[in-house]
Subunit: 488 residues, 2 copies
């Protein structure tokens, strides 16, 4: 009866948690726990010991305190859509799931603020305020299912980040529960608050510094007018030049997305937009927003620049149905890959805009070398690449090979002065590559900060930072030996 | 010979520092040290033991290491223009002055980045890149004399922060020297880097986490067209409403400044702009930038909104000389106060935009209560107030009274949901008010972060955080007793 012995160890913990959350607030049955074994990176799995479903900041604080007192690791989880395994459980851990924390706590149109609980879905924020003429700008592809709490943890981006920035630019204040269970308010409702910018530090810390339980977001005025311009090109280079020239002209589009020939055809095969020419080597989708007169003017300028850079055709749309039609293929791109290939692996890296064309051609060469096809659909304006590596997991050892190829792509991004993550985070998936981007002193400084918040290392252990256990490289072993730091 | 005994204690330190910096790199003569007794807050003074003038990151690192090994507090100082006493020396400290660190290290127009040393003057960044059609957006009033390193320490703002954000939105990466002398690179050249956002944490940390020695800044395309709209009103309320209505309309002006009747008359007395009507209770200066067509359209909209809110006259200017004429009074406002009053004290607080009119009337009532005239010249769009309290320091006890009045204004800002600093920082001047804005747990969390970087507390001690020594309040005494923290 090994199982019951293990469970018995948890009985006093379950009792304490149920005293706070009620019986319905604690999930303990093996089959119900299965759902929580992984997030949007299904290649890694681990069952948690327990799942908790708090409703309030105070309940979250009580859970964290119970874990702290009993030395139990805990992991915050929103909607579980993260792509880097940031919410992947560790052995014998408690999950704090925010699915029952979905209240809008306050809306202040005058000062353009909304206060929400972390479990609220990204898209609901815009739905809540759109009647009054406002919206919430960060729009990850998963926006109809991902949670704001998860967006805060990963500093999520999206198509509109080119003009409006990532989540960090839209979070003004947070109530957080620290790994020791303390409730701390950071930031506020005005844009600048004194002391350290802990809000900026917390956003993107991937659950390793605590959990946000109340989030004050900036809401923006819905633009008067929106226009989408679609341009198709004979080469990636031409499209890349058009991106650089548009930015150089002083126009900052709301979004600027590129798709390569392979993605175009995959999308046309599956959703048949009939907007993207199958023989184009690249298409560019440029969204412009602002006042009517401004958008009209920008639209003309963008069209001129694209033609000057070699575009074959320019289409544009201002009315919502046609705009959605032009966007349809881009929005369906990941799903299309899922249909034309048994499996795909999305990478997320950033390169300086000036390096776009050369990096894409190197990625293509790497794909050939490893024997995999790579589709490119990405936020061109920010240089945020999303190469999709197509493969078949049923083939022995294929995922390991794909991971290696993904790693080569990240190293390439770092080599040209870019970054190993644009918007998906490091999580479990990319921690091995942190040492390619940061020196020992850099990582040590981050670990000091982590320890300041998370001295026992109980909040989301084994994430972000390289550890010998997972990287298996001697070079990394050293990096985990931080003086005075209880690294996990 | 007490003096020589004290100096003798410094002889081995001087020797070590001169070995790194040469004789000219270390200032030790009493009369030369006088210059460094205070920054832009002259009411507090303290002579440093030594001043060092490094030229490179490595030299800064060597100085920090010498201080660390000998337990000597050190303070980074840029141009010394800070208004909150952030660069105020403490007893027996070493200053690290960046006056010889004024190199532009790299300019990358393609990716819109510039890398500079910290001693470079804010305005020089724009001068360096303006020929190629770029500029650096944050523009504190002191921009022709303040240093970029100081801007990073204080997260400086300026007129254009309404549209473009404060310094933190324009710093992409930093090389820092930690209080232990380590050289650490944080952030990078692309907008998003993984791991903790230490760049965001460092900007605005007022020299307490280390010193930035290389700074990567974003540069922006010079706008096609700029227009300034001047509107005058019969009441502050009307002008306040116009500010709210302009923002509500979806227009984000580059800047939106307000001056009250008292400031208008002070300015007209001194610089005679002849643009600001002396009988107006408030004027609004709205700067619009962007494409020609956009600016023209915005200008009309802003004019219409102001008239609808009760403006008496609207003037506007697109050509540079007329624009400068409209701005002249605003730019000269602080200097004008210096001429009409023996002394003045600038406060810096933030209120939610919706509270502007009511807070201004409360400030005026507080002024009457204390018997001082208060001029209001401020960044209305951000709700960032700069009340100028006019007084005569020669009158016994006047500065203490003015400080108390300034404190009341800050408490009022906090009461309405605002902040005790918009852009000048906390420094030495405002640390007593931190407890009005933050709870014990909030401040404790910041102290933990400070300790992570600055375990001995040697980098800029006695700044930001309240200490019983300066606040003298029993309530604050408790807050300094942080467990495991070596607070100063």
């Amino acid at each position: 009866m090994v199982f019951s012995v293990i469970r018995d160890k948890w009985q006093p913990i379950i009792k304490q948690l149920e005293a706070v959350l009620g019986k319905k607030g604690v999930i303990k049955r093996k089959e119900e726990l299965l759902t929580y074994e992984c997030d949007g990176l299904p290649q890694y799995r681990q069952r948690p010991a327990l799942v908790t479903l708090p409703k309030t900041t105070e309940e979250v604080s009580a859970i964290a305190r119970i874990c702290h007192e009993n030395d139990i690791p805990w992991i915050a989880r929103g909607a579980g859509t993260g792509l880097s395994g940031g919410a992947l459980p560790v052995e014998d851990c408690v999950l704090i799931v925010t699915a029952r924390m979905r209240e809008v706590l306050e809306v202040d149109y005058e000062n353009q603020r909304i206060v929400v609980q972390p479990g609220i879905i990204n898209n609901w924020v815009t739905q809540t305020v759109s009647g009054a003429g406002f919206y919430y700008a960060p729009d990850p592809s998963s926006q109809i299912i991902c949670s704001i709490g998860g967006n805060v943890a990963e500093n999520s981006g999206g198509v509109h980040c080119l003009k409006y920035g990532t989540t960090t630019n839209h979070v003004l204040g947070l109530t957080i529960v620290t790994p020791e269970g303390d409730i701390v308010k950071i930031g506020g409702k005005v844009p600048e608050t004194p002391g350290y910018d802990l809000t900026g530090l917390f956003v993107g810390s991937e659950g390793t510094l605590g959990i946000a339980t109340e989030i004050t977001l900036k809401i923006l005025k819905t633009p008067d007018s929106i226009c989408v311009v679609l341009a198709d090109f004979n080469s990636i280079e031409e499209a890349g030049n058009a991106v650089a020239e548009i930015i150089r002209s002083g126009i900052i589009p709301a979004g600027m997305e590129m798709m390569d020939n392979f993605s175009i055809n995959a999308v046309e095969d599956i959703v048949a937009t009939q907007c993207y020419p199958r023989d184009a080597q690249a298409i560019l989708l440029v969204e412009l927003d602002g006042l009517e007169v401004e958008v009209t003017n920008y639209k003309e300028k963008v069209g001129e620049i694209c033609l000057r850079c070699g575009a074959r055709n320019i289409t544009s749309a201002k009315d919502a149905p046609t705009r959605l039609k032009l966007w349809k293929g881009r929005k369906a791109a990941f799903a299309a890959m899922g249909k034309i290939s048994p499996n795909y692996f999305v990478q997320d890296g950033v390169v300086p805009r000036s390096q776009l064309a050369s990096v894409l051609s190197e990625i293509s060469a790497l794909g050939e070398q490893y024997g995999y096809r790579i589709a490119n659909v990405f936020h061109a304006g920010d240089g945020n690449l999303h190469p999709l590596i197509l493969y078949n997991q049923a083939e022995e050892g294929s995922f390991e090979k794909v991971e290696e190829l993904g790693g080569e792509i990240l190293k390439l991004c770092v080599r040209v002065g870019g970054s190993i993550s644009g918007e998906h985070g490091i999580g479990s998936d990319k921690k091995c590559y942190m040492a390619d981007m940061f020196t020992e002193a850099d990582l040590e400084t981050m670990q000091y900060v982590r320890s300041a918040f998370n001295p026992k290392g109980l909040a989301n252990p084994e994430k972000i930072f390289p550890t010998p256990r997972t990287c298996g490289e001697a070079a990394n072993a050293k990096k985990a030996e931080f003086k005075n730091i209880q690294a996990f």
